[in-house]
């Protein structure tokens, strides 16, 4: 109902001269938007700027006719935000904490608050733990509580920053279900370094690295674009250096004690390589500059 979130020319440099964002321009339409990038890519900085917690050096962000940077109070009314790192007062129960947040969100009626909180806690499967102290919550419960908090007050702009980090597969799955239930007409920005989060949830995405948007588009289209150009081979660990020198290796991973290397090549490289069905991970690794990825290996 506010249209899309428009980010234009957004730059931010920290004191230590690290460029966190470098002239970022993005348009984010309603729906689930994945912001993919390695740690330190600038995702959280971008998220925090949108969530009114940081100031860019230059650039603008608008949502409808709201200037996000200047009209902080206005954007906060529409916002649901789950920061990357967060905690709660450990001695407070989930219910009381959520009640406090509901009041902050402007939900003034006590009855209304009760209904909303009850509903949300059911939704995130925490209703039976509503009286438990938050200090006693496990990681997954905390994360679910976090999303409940972000969904309070029916926000139009929802930002979840690295919500699945540290969750086990079951919890992550549960979390994905939760996110997928959020209405389609809302802007949901999911920042993550986990490719599956995006491939499972998002119709639209961007890959961000060192503060720059390297890729932008629909995940399926992006996969289609590289399909047929990804090749794989199992090699001995000791050989990897030679392959890296020879091919455009996009990723390596261990497979049953040997190393599988994936390379990008327009044509079949031969040399024992076989074709591989491209997935979003390959898109990601193809996009991120290879030399840096290899360093990681």
């Amino acid at each position: 109902m506010y249209g899309s979130l428009k980010i234009e020319g957004l730059s931010k440099t920290y004191n230590n001269e690290v460029k966190a964002l470098d002239n970022v321009t993005l348009e984010i339409k309603p729906g689930m938007f994945g912001l993919l990038g390695p740690n330190g890519a600038g995702k959280s900085t971008l998220m925090r700027i949108i969530a009114t917690l940081q100031e860019p050096d230059s650039g603008t962000i608008t949502l409808g006719d709201i200037d996000v940077i200047k009209q902080k109070q206005e954007i906060r009314k529409l916002l649901g935000y789950l920061p990357q790192e967060f905690g709660f007062y450990p001695k407070v129960s989930a219910w009381d904490m959520l009640d406090h947040f509901a009041s902050l969100k402007g939900i003034s009626g006590a009855k209304e608050r009760k209904a909303v909180i009850g509903g949300l806690l059911q939704k995130v499967h925490l209703y039976e733990y509503r009286k438990k102290r938050l200090g006693g919550y496990s990681g997954g419960m905390r994360q679910r509580f976090g999303i409940a908090q972000a969904l309070l007050g029916d926000p139009d702009l929802i930002i979840v920053d690295e919500p699945t980090a540290g969750l086990d597969p079951k919890e992550r799955n549960h979390f994905h279900n939760l996110l997928s239930e959020i209405g389609e007409n809302k802007i949901v920005i999911l920042s993550t370094h986990i490719v599956e989060d995006v491939s499972e949830l998002c119709q639209d995405m961007a890959i961000i690295h060192k503060g720059e948007v390297l890729m932008r588009g629909n995940p399926l289209e992006a996969i289609a674009a590289i399909n047929g150009k990804i090749w794989k081979k199992l090699i001995d660990k000791s050989e990897s250096g030679a392959y890296i020198a020879k091919y455009k290796v996009i990723s390596t991973k261990l497979h049953a004690g040997r190393q599988q290397i994936n390379v990008y090549s327009e044509n079949m490289p031969g040399d024992g390589f076989t074709g591989k069905d491209a997935n979003l991970e390959d898109v990601y690794f193809t996009t991120i500059p290879a030399d840096e990825m290899i360093e990681g290996v």
């Binding site: 004191n15 940081q54 100031e55 967060f86 905690g87 969100k105 939704k123 009286k131």
Partner: protein, 1211 residues
């Protein structure tokens, strides 16, 4: 292994910046304190005790080093606590605990390494003070020779043991709780513990307890210094023996035990969270999918306000439910209770639980607690979310800054409100338990309100500092720093009260006069600061941190985004208010009144002396007749005076010019003389006028001076003399002074030197014949006739010395005409209030009545009967033994507690509400009846001052104050017995010893006493009573009677102490001749010490007591250097037993006899009939004793006969 841990810890600490910062802070504080004391900032030296006490003396060093050490306790807490806590904070404990380190090495290595580091940090103060004195701009005269030991000793005796002991506490606590806050709280509790000790220390009877329970050992040191003379304070250090040693041993042992417990409890297999995790309740419900309803969101102003209120509740609950808050509040309440029970005593006798006394105790003790809570919890409440990483969520909520800020701010104020409310309730309970029923709830409410104003102002500053600092720890440090800076600008030379944030003006509540007009100035300053506080809060809102930005550039950017029209309007309004109020204050302080920096004031005094001192030689006429009309307007704090005073040329030369000094604080509307004159000098700055008479005033001729003046404070200044109810001022404020007066001259020896003035005697020599032409009360009159008409509002009584001639009403006002029937001193008082009256009559031997009236406030009927009793017995004893009472009336008039003394005028004694009127002398107790004592003392002045008045020379106050003390003691002895006198004299002796340590020039022997209260009151009382005890009551009284007959109402030259001694000397028997010299003419100190007393019962009423004691006598010079003297003196041995008076056990002598003894060790065997309990040498304190705490010991019963033996013995 120990050395590995020790070495690692040392390296770690030395590599940390904080270690060096702490050290440098103490170093700078050390340098600053020396500079501040020496007056580098204000230009005038700050006096501690006496200007004779050098600024690098053991006394000053010891005090400063231990006081900074006391504050250093928080650094000890931080360093010691963190040395353990950091392993848990950084989760390094598993690494340490799995290393092959022994328990002892791990614990002791860290403990001692940090102890050493702390010693290094705290050594900064001493080092700073040592170095600071060499600052080239400081006056070298303020310092004595440098002795390194004076700097090291305080560390050895106090600081180091304190580091070890308190360190052990913090170390153990950090270990036991794995948290830092309890460590800090323990620091606060220890800090408060010191103040509890100090509250006890004010009581003579509790001094020994106070010296032991103070964990810092400061009271134990203070107790030794208290009895040091000035020279001793400059050269001697408290010996490491006795209570001081015991104190140190006790607390070091406590530390050792704690360390031992920690060692025993310490296990390397510690897990992070001590204690069992609580089982959480899980509420089982069947899972039903509920549709989350669409909500309605409300961001209206009204909703925000509601939200703010609910947050206040949350924050408030959060603070008051925290264990730490409860600990501090509890410590505060204990401090309050101890202070309530211990404070407000005179001579150990309690003061009634008057509400203003209780609120004063609350304010004194809770100011500190309030500040501590404010400082801690501002940080806690502002940064709590950040600590729990909840800031990201909270900061992005659609809640305006003001809701967050004001909810925290208000919650904290609410906490403070509740604390003071709790303290007030404790106060009320205390009043009720003491059986005091006149509880002034209104005052509690007002006090609460006024306290909250001050706290709010402070809170605004501290909030702003924290917000700007944007960090909890930096915030705490800066908050403490700015608190001291903002409220103490005067120490760095900005003396104007407009600079001292949150301060300015003061108020005092009086039962008689309520708040008077005192809230006008106080309130003006508070409004002024409130505007600034509002600006602080607005700026706080602009900078209120939301989100992560910490660079100032970004924060400024955010601030600019927020800065809109509303902020602008608010800032302008508050700024205009601030400047407006500031101008109003400036107008009142500097235009209507005169604001003087200390140094400016001194310079004016110097100029006055330089300019006009030569007038001192010009002979002047002297007043002979005084007629005044004083119209008192209590409602407007104003008195209109019309005076007509006659002065006579009593010299043999004509006088051709008149020097007049008028009080510059008053407005003289009219001044004239009854002969032609012209003004030669008109100096309105000093109020000095020189008039040339057209025709000289010939010897014996009179001149009549007429004047009008208005007495009224200017602007909003508090009125303390003419007030709504309880006006009290004296004639010296408005009588035109004839001739030059050296009262305006600078008197401090050091300052005179600094300004290049000739040294000046504090008082003329005892035999100065010129000075003997004046009394010490007045230098422009001898004995004057007096008549006055007073008027006041219709509901008040106005009183001045003299007899009421007529009383009438006119124009809705009351008029009183008073006239004295005989000449008296030129010193009168003016009193007006709504009074209750207690009348009585005393009849003298010739059957003439003397009318006795106590004029008192309806709040204070408590002790008027005691006063009447004292007047009656005083009149009886004094007129019988000294001479007849010259008047037909004695009136006691209560006045508000703006001053706390009583003062005798002819037949009239104004008496402050804060002393005798509110004493709580319990019946059937040993309480010293000080209302009785003070009343008798003032009555004594009707003989000793109003009949016999000494010349304006040394020694004269002996014949007024010391004799009034003596007179009072005599009637007290008759009424209450000798043992009460013994206890009374113990207090007097203690006050004398403390007083001589503060001597600013030279201690003088009693017969040459100058304006030295510690000598003429306290030593005077002891010596005069001893004289009577050694020479007999009759002999002393007959000498006094003869002296009075010879000197009463004499014309100049006035009597001096040499003449007085001529009457005393003959009554002293030859065998006691030494007492004239030793007690009156020299400064003599005994040191009597009872060492051992053992008792064997030898029969039913026969106890053999063997005593061992030591005695010495010393002569001291004026600076306090003493030298041993030969003695062969009479000293009283008193052995006390138990007696029962009205069912209560009391101490009474069972043996009391004077023995002639020489100096040194003695053994003595005496027999008593009743069972001895306590043996003493000079236990009734008749001699001036250097150390009065070692005069007695408990008698040890070695052998007691049982009933059977006794029965056999009887056979």
């Amino acid at each position: 292994m120990f050395f590995n841990v020790f070495g690692f810890e040392m390296k770690y600490r030395l590599s940390k910046l904080s270690t060096w910062i702490y050290f440098v802070i103490f170093l700078i504080l050390g340098i600053l304190i020396v500079n501040a004391l020496a007056g580098a900032f204000t230009g005038t030296r700050v006096m501690i005790n006496s200007e004779k006490v050098t600024l690098n003396s053991p006394y000053i060093n010891h005090s400063a080093i231990t006081i900074f050490g006391l504050f250093g306790i928080f650094i000890v807490a931080s360093v010691m606590g963190f040395s353990i806590y950091r392993d848990f904070e950084y989760n390094t404990y598993p690494m340490f605990f799995t290393k092959p380190v022994s328990k002892a090495s791990y614990l002791l290595g860290r403990y001692f390494a940090n102890g050493l580091i702390l010693t290094f940090i705290l050594s900064g103060t001493g080092l700073g003070m040592l170095v600071g004195q060499f600052c080239p701009w400081l006056d070298k005269a303020a310092f004595g020779p440098v002795n390194l030991l004076y700097y090291i000793y305080p560390y050895l005796v106090n600081v180091l043991p304190n580091v070890l002991f308190t360190g052990a506490i913090f170390f153990s606590l950090a270990f036991a709780t794995r948290r830092m806050l309890p460590v800090y709280i323990a620091g606060i509790v220890l800090f408060v513990g010191y103040f509890i000790g100090t509250a006890l220390f004010d009581r003579l009877e509790m001094k020994e307890v106070a010296a032991l329970i103070d964990p810092m050992g400061m009271n134990a040191v203070g107790m030794v210094y208290e009895n040091f003379s000035v020279v001793e304070r400059n050269t001697k250090m408290p010996p490491f023996t006795g209570l001081l040693l015991l104190n140190r041993l006790i607390w070091l042992a406590a530390g050792g035990i704690l360390m031992l417990i920690t060692y025993l409890k310490f296990k390397f297999s510690q897990t992070m969270v001590p204690g069992k995790a609580k089982k959480e309740k899980v509420v089982e419900t069947s899972y039903v999918e509920i549709e989350v309803p669409v909500v309605h969101k409300d961001y209206s102003w009204k909703q925000n306000l509601k939200r703010c209120l609910s947050f206040i509740k949350l924050e408030f609950q959060e603070i008051i439910s925290s264990a730490n808050f409860i600990t501090i509040a509890f410590a505060g309440l204990i401090l309050l209770v101890v202070s309530l029970l211990q404070s407000n005593r005179f001579y150990e006798t309690q003061v009634l639980a008057i509400t203003y006394n209780v609120t004063a105790v609350i304010n004194a003790n809770f100011a500190m607690i309030s500040l501590i809570i404010l400082l801690i919890y501002t940080g806690e409440t502002l940064w709590k979310a950040r600590e729990h990483k909840l800031d990201g969520i909270l900061d992005s909520q659609p809640v305006p800054n003001w809701v967050y800020l004001f909810s925290k701010f208000t919650a904290l104020l609410l906490v403070q409100f509740c604390l003071i409310l709790a303290a007030s309730i404790a106060g009320i309970i205390y009043q009720v338990l003491k059986g005091f029923s006149d509880i002034n709830l209104g005052l509690y409410a007002a006090n609460l309100g006024l306290s909250m104003v001050s706290i709010t102002l402070l809170a605004a500053l501290i909030f702003l500092v924290h917000i700007l600092a944007n960090n909890k720890f930096a915030g705490h440090a800066l908050a403490i720093g700015s608190y001291f800076l903002f409220s103490n600008f005067s120490l760095v030379g900005l003396e104007h009260p407009l600079f001292s944030y949150g301060r300015g003006g003061s108020w005092m509540y009086s039962d008689m006069n309520g708040f008077g007009n005192m809230l006008a100035r106080w309130g003006s300053f508070r409004i002024y600061w409130a505007f600034l506080a509002a600006i602080f809060l607005v700026v706080g809102l602009l900078f209120y941190p939301r989100g992560r930005e910490s660079s100032f550039r970004k924060r400024w950017q955010i601030c600019q985004q927020r800065y809109g029209k509303d902020y602008k309007i608010a800032l302008i309004i508050f700024l205009v208010g601030f400047i407006g109020m500031g101008s109003y204050i400036f107008y009142n302080e500097n235009v209507l009144n005169e604001f003087k920096r200390t140094k400016t004031g001194e310079l004016e005094q110097v100029n006055f002396e330089k300019k006009y001192q030569h007038y001192d030689d010009i002979a002047q006429p002297r007043y002979t007749d005084v007629y005044v009309q004083v119209d008192i307007y209590p409602g407007s704090n104003r008195a209109e005076v019309q005076g007509k005073m006659t002065a006579r040329n009593k010299t043999s030369q004509p006088i051709d010019s008149l020097i007049v000094i008028l009080n510059t604080d008053l407005d003289y509307n009219y001044f004239s003389m009854d002969r032609e004159y012209r003004a030669n000098v008109v100096d309105t700055d000093y109020g000095l006028y020189s008039y040339k008479l057209a025709s000289p005033l010939l010897p014996g001729e009179d001149i009549v001076i007429e004047y009008d003046c208005t007495i009224q404070p200017k602007g909003y200044f508090p009125a303390t003399s003419v007030v709504e109810n309880g006006t009290f001022f004296n004639s010296m404020t408005f009588f035109p002074h004839l001739g030059y007066s050296d009262n305006y001259e600078l008197s401090s020896e050091e300052k005179r030197k600094k300004y290049g003035l000739e040294p000046k005697l504090r008082m003329a020599k005892v035999d100065d014949e010129k000075a003997r032409m004046n009394t010490y009360i007045s230098d422009d009159a001898d004995w004057v006739n007096y008549e006055a008409i007073l008027s006041t509002s219709i509901d008040q009584t106005a009183i001045t010395p003299g007899y009421l001639q007529k009383e009438w009403e006119e124009n809705g006002r009351k008029y009183f005409h008073y006239k004295m029937d005989h000449p008296g001193l030129n010193f009168f008082c003016y009193v007006s209030a709504r009074y209750e009256e207690n009348h009585d009559v005393w009849t003298n031997e010739s059957g003439e009545d003397v009318e006795l009236t106590i004029y008192y406030d309806h709040h204070h009927p408590y002790n008027t009967e005691r006063m009447i009793k004292a007047l009656k017995s005083g009149l009886g004893y004094f007129s019988k033994n000294f001479g007849p009472y010259p008047d037909r009336q004695v009136r006691i008039l209560e006045f508000p507690r703006y001053s706390s003394y009583a003062q005798s005028f002819v037949n009239t004694i104004p008496y402050s509400e804060s002393i005798g009127f509110v004493a709580d002398v319990r019946e059937n107790s040993e309480d010293i009846d000080y209302p009785y004592n003070v009343t008798a003392h003032e009555l004594g002045h009707q003989w000793w001052a109003h009949q016999v008045i000494g010349a304006n020379v040394q020694g004269s106050v002996l014949m007024s104050e010391a004799l009034a003390q003596y007179s009072s003691l005599m009637v007290m002895e008759k009424e209450y017995g000798k043992s009460q006198i013994g206890r009374f004299l113990k207090h007097e002796l203690s006050s004398y010893l403390i007083g001589r340590g503060g001597e600013s020039r030279e201690e003088l022997p009693l017969y040459l006493v100058e304006s030295q209260q510690y000598i003429y009151y306290y030593k005077g009382a002891v010596i005069m009573y001893a004289l009577r005890d050694y020479c007999g009551e009759k002999a002393v009284n007959s000498a006094l009677k003869k002296y009075l007959q010879a000197t009463a109402y004499e014309e100049p030259p006035y009597t001096n102490s040499l003449e007085f001694m001529e009457y005393i000397e003959p009554i002293v028997p030859d065998s006691l001749n030494y007492i004239i010299d030793d007690w009156f003419k020299k400064i003599t100190l005994y040191d009597n010490k009872m060492k051992k007393a053992e008792c064997w019962q030898e029969g039913k009423r026969k106890y053999r007591v063997e005593l061992e004691f030591e005695m010495n006598k010393y002569y001291a010079d004026g600076q306090g250097n003493d030298s041993k003297a030969e003695m062969n003196d009479l000293v009283e041995i008193v052995i006390f037993g138990n007696a029962y008076v009205k069912g209560k056990q009391v101490k009474r002598p069972v043996y009391q006899k004077k023995h002639r003894l020489n100096s040194g060790e003695h053994k003595l065997t005496v027999y008593t009939k009743r069972k001895p309990q306590e043996a003493s040498i000079d236990g009734m304190f008749k001699l001036i004793d250097k150390n009065m705490l070692d005069n007695s010991v408990k008698v040890k019963i070695i052998d007691e006969l049982d009933q059977e033996d006794l029965a056999q013995g009887d056979l």
